[in-house]
């Protein structure tokens, strides 16, 4: 491996910019992500910055069980993040639907809308766990092992 690809790998690991997306979450996980960015846990110390535009981001932090109304926006925003990109599902909702599972208004998690790379379980997870999730996603980005373009789960609602 050449020196240039080594430097590129290192930069991808050291500079994971995140975009936070709420897909119908109760806000519990979003508050924990806020705590993660605040002085006590300081996401910037690992080089992460919160970006307002998905086009500037490397990592999508997604919360919530994916309500039917947010599904199209989630797909569109995921498509707008330039590759290489990773997805961190924060909390139990994006993984399984959590307490909302079986509801006619949610899609029981984001797994059939976008490919998730790292799960951070918890309701809500601790900021340390979110920090560890972002670090893990950054490692996957550096090694090129993200699941971008992977086959998705079938939707419970058929869309």
């Amino acid at each position: 491996m050449g020196i240039f690809s080594k430097i590129m790998q290192l930069s991808r690991r050291k500079s994971p910019w995140v975009y936070v997306l709420n897909a119908g979450s109760c806000n519990g996980c979003d508050i924990e992500i806020g705590a993660c960015l605040s002085p006590r846990y300081d996401l910037e110390q690992i080089g992460a910055l919160r970006q307002g535009s998905p086009k500037h981001a490397d990592i999508l932090l997604i919360t919530g069980p994916l309500t039917l109304r947010s599904a199209e926006a989630v797909r569109s925003i995921y498509a707008q993040i330039p590759e290489p990109k990773a997805v961190v599902a924060v909390g139990s909702c994006p993984a399984t639907g959590n307490v909302f599972a079986g509801s006619p208004t949610v899609e029981d998690g984001v797994l059939h809308a976008i490919p998730v790379d790292v799960f951070v379980p918890g309701c809500p997870p601790r900021p340390q766990a979110i920090l560890a999730g972002v670090l893990e996603a950054a490692r996957l980005l550096a090694e090129g092992k993200t699941r971008t373009g992977a086959k998705l789960k079938e939707s419970p609602h058929g869309n």
Binding site: I7, M8, L10, S11, R12, K14, S15, W17, P39, D42, E44, Q45, G47, Q51, G52, S53, K55, H56, D58, Q80, P82, E83, P84
Partner: protein, 303 residues
Amino acid sequence: MATNFFWQGLLAYFIWPGLLCAALLGWLFLWLARKLIARMQRRFGPPFYQPFFDFVKLLGKRSLVPAGMSPVLYYGLPLVAVISIGLALALLPLPGNGMRPFAGDLILVLYLMEMPAFCDILAGFASRSIYGQVGSSREAALMLGYSLPFLASVIALAIKAGSFRLEDVIAQPFGLVHVLAIIAFVLAVPARLKSNPFSIPNAEQEIVAGAHVEYNGPALALFELAHGLELVAVSLLFGLLFVPVLHNPLAALAAYLAAALVLVVVTSLVAAATARLQIHRAFRFYWTWGAVAALACIVVAVL
């Protein structure tokens, strides 16, 4: 002789004080600003290599050109910004710069230093994003504001020296006009660098990322690089204009860098201590206090 001049020009443009050294210095200054703000917010802050890794990572991302925007404009604007700020840096008569000064180089430097802001404005309008357009119009309005004290402070020194040759302007003895020009210059710097009380064009909580909202990958990397180079150009120009002449080149270089560092630290302190102004308040600030400072230094220079 002609070939010698050619090589010296290339050296000045690409190595010192042009792209290579200025980029390293710019990354150092950008890191310093981020670290200082983080420390003042009781955060740990990023490690010192952060801006370099951000730049390399952005270079390695796939680019998405927004629909309806010509790729020539999309890649051309950040490229023009970097090229022109690099030229401005190459013209600065720092110790070790082989470029020969010529009459009116100060005007050329000022013009080239406006180019990154100009490219930002065009990029925002061309990107067909509503946030980009709002960011561009804010930046254009702010430019009308900060240009008044910024240009007045430099022009006052040029009037005093009776010449628009950067070497003559630098060589004059320190006087009252310098003190007033420093005030006008420092007033203009936060808005020039879009840092906090005047971070109106790229207000991330209101208009996402301003003019850069549709930019990504290598094009965004070039815009970030242009911003770093602009930071170096403004702070080194500050050092050149306001540090009294030293005849030892090493001591002069150290003094210029120290002055540049002081400017970056002061700007970061102001950025951490203040909240964002509304655009009309920023404009009023520059056309009252900025105008007073501008008038004072021009009047003292003419008298």
